[in-house]
Symmetry: C2
Subunit: 308 residues, 2 copies
């Protein structure tokens, strides 16, 4: 259909051997390569890890739209424990989307004037902005403006300088809002990235998860009219009617997601396919891919076939 195929890069082709990852600025003439979608379609079930229900939060807005997000206990355990407690204690039930700043972040929680107590949390968690480089860190073979190395660890986007590592503020990643003092964020207000990755925030805030379902129900909101995109008052805010841990929902009501394992050969092939787009549409494959254009593929599944 005229102009309906454009910008897709998923033309149907057969995989006839992996293409080389070419250097930046050059192009590959290595011929036919599978599209990213074809690599995913061909990935074995063993390459997909189920998102643990105890790491999955379901946030329901007043208009009935649901946002699912995954917590990252491996990288920010104290903040994640706080968020699980805030969810289970009902802290976010009746909270709201407070801020939508175009090309930057959507932020939710309870507004400054709301003094609802956050019960049972660690009110002054350690910063958790950085961690020891993970054993399972798989760096990409491409340059990055901000870090010596970027890649994936347990399918999360991670940067490293060799001594320290940190989660990257890619689109959809979730961080803990804080005040000016670096130790003032407990998890009572969270934000997610809705624009080009604001990498200057890396190592300056605790990154605790990522949106894996319903992201478009956050990004299509009116931008806030106040400084930093805050909504003017309660009349503009979008209410959160409930937030629940998926593990607390009846099995038949639980959303379930799988993420491609960054340790799997399929993941490596998918990165190559993202870096070297094939098909009739592409004149010049990039030969590289930015870490935030190579976020681990996720898929919704009918029911959780167990946890990894």
């Amino acid at each position: 259909m005229f102009k309906r195929l454009l910008l897709t890069g998923t033309a149907a082709l057969f995989l006839i051997g992996a293409a080389p990852i070419t250097q930046q600025g050059s192009t590959t003439q290595s011929g036919v390569l599978a599209s990213p979608q074809e690599v995913l379609d061909a990935a074995p079930a063993s390459a997909w890890m189920t998102v643990p229900a105890e790491d999955l939060v379901v946030m329901t807005l007043a208009d009935g739209r649901k946002i699912d997000y995954q917590l990252a206990p491996d990288f920010a355990p104290v903040h994640v424990a706080n968020i699980r407690q805030l969810v289970r204690s009902g802290y976010f039930d009746g909270a709201a989307i407070l801020r939508v700043q175009d090309a930057y972040v959507v932020q939710w929680g309870r507004p400054d004037e709301d003094k609802t107590e956050a019960r049972g949390i660690n009110a002054t968690p350690p910063a958790e902005y950085e961690f020891t480089p993970p054993a399972r860190f798989k760096p990409l073979p491409f340059r990055d403006a901000y870090a010596e190395q970027v890649g994936h660890a347990k399918s999360w986007p991670v940067a490293s300088d060799g001594h320290s590592a940190w989660l990257i503020h890619c689109y959809g990643m979730i961080g803990v809002a804080r005040d000016v003092a670096p130790d003032t964020g407990s998890g009572t207000q969270l934000y997610t990235v809705i624009g080009h990755a604001p990498r200057h925030l890396d190592r300056n805030l605790a990154v605790v998860g990522r949106v894996i379902g319903g992201m478009e129900f956050l990004t299509d909101r009116p931008r806030g009219t106040e400084d930093l995109g805050f909504y003017k008052d309660d009349s503009q805010r979008i209410k959160i009617v409930s937030t629940q841990m998926a593990s607390d929902l009846p099995a038949d009501a639980r959303p379930a997601f799988q993420v491609l394992d960054s340790d799997s050969p399929a993941f490596a092939a998918w990165v190559q396919a993202r870096a070297n787009r094939s098909g009739a549409f592409f004149v010049k494959p990039a030969g590289a891919v930015d870490i935030c254009n190579a976020q681990a593929p996720l898929r919704a599944v009918q029911s959780a076939p167990g946890t990894n």
Copy 2:
């Protein structure tokens, strides 16, 4: 205000000397540095270039919201001539936003089934995907995943491999939609980037401009439910009631914008400030900035004080 300062990085500090651009992965301890906003506030009038009215398009939607976009005749002259002709001939009046794909693009024009003739254009323009590296190209001193060099030319984001150069698909940049064949885009359907820069599109489509006003009136739309985020039918599309060249509007009705000149010392200082965020909020300045996080600052002005 509690948690209202977060993620701003524009704390008020005095400029007491430029900081070094530190290497990626390291942090700067060079102390107090001006914020990006302070650099802009201190920039002389001579550092700001007025966007020529003949390069500025005003698109008015059915709900009255206006989007202003700037054309790039220096880099895609044939496509820009086509777009000026399409605007002046009324081609886009009665067209619509056809596609909103989350984290990717918003696309507008006339739908496939609309056979309205595009009068007076070059129906098969040269691709204009690349050009000779511009004399005024100012590369950033930072790594890039996709190109040997990235930087600015006449305040546009440009990548170069030394032999060829091209405009970069940053947030808000506008390209010409096309069919699978690389020579099928004339300018009758345009798209703008609403997510993390899809750099794999660089050198594969003609980039012809950028949105400089009302971007949030494109990004806050419901995402399309069809493949690639296309709207299902006319009932979902957002109509474009008129599109005009600012130069064809009465002087008192013309929007006017200025862009910081990438050849100015103020621009270089602003890049340094973006790369090394200062202020009480930032624990670890990045020491670098991605080209799409360093798009030339723009400002609306009351009336056009002449063109550059």
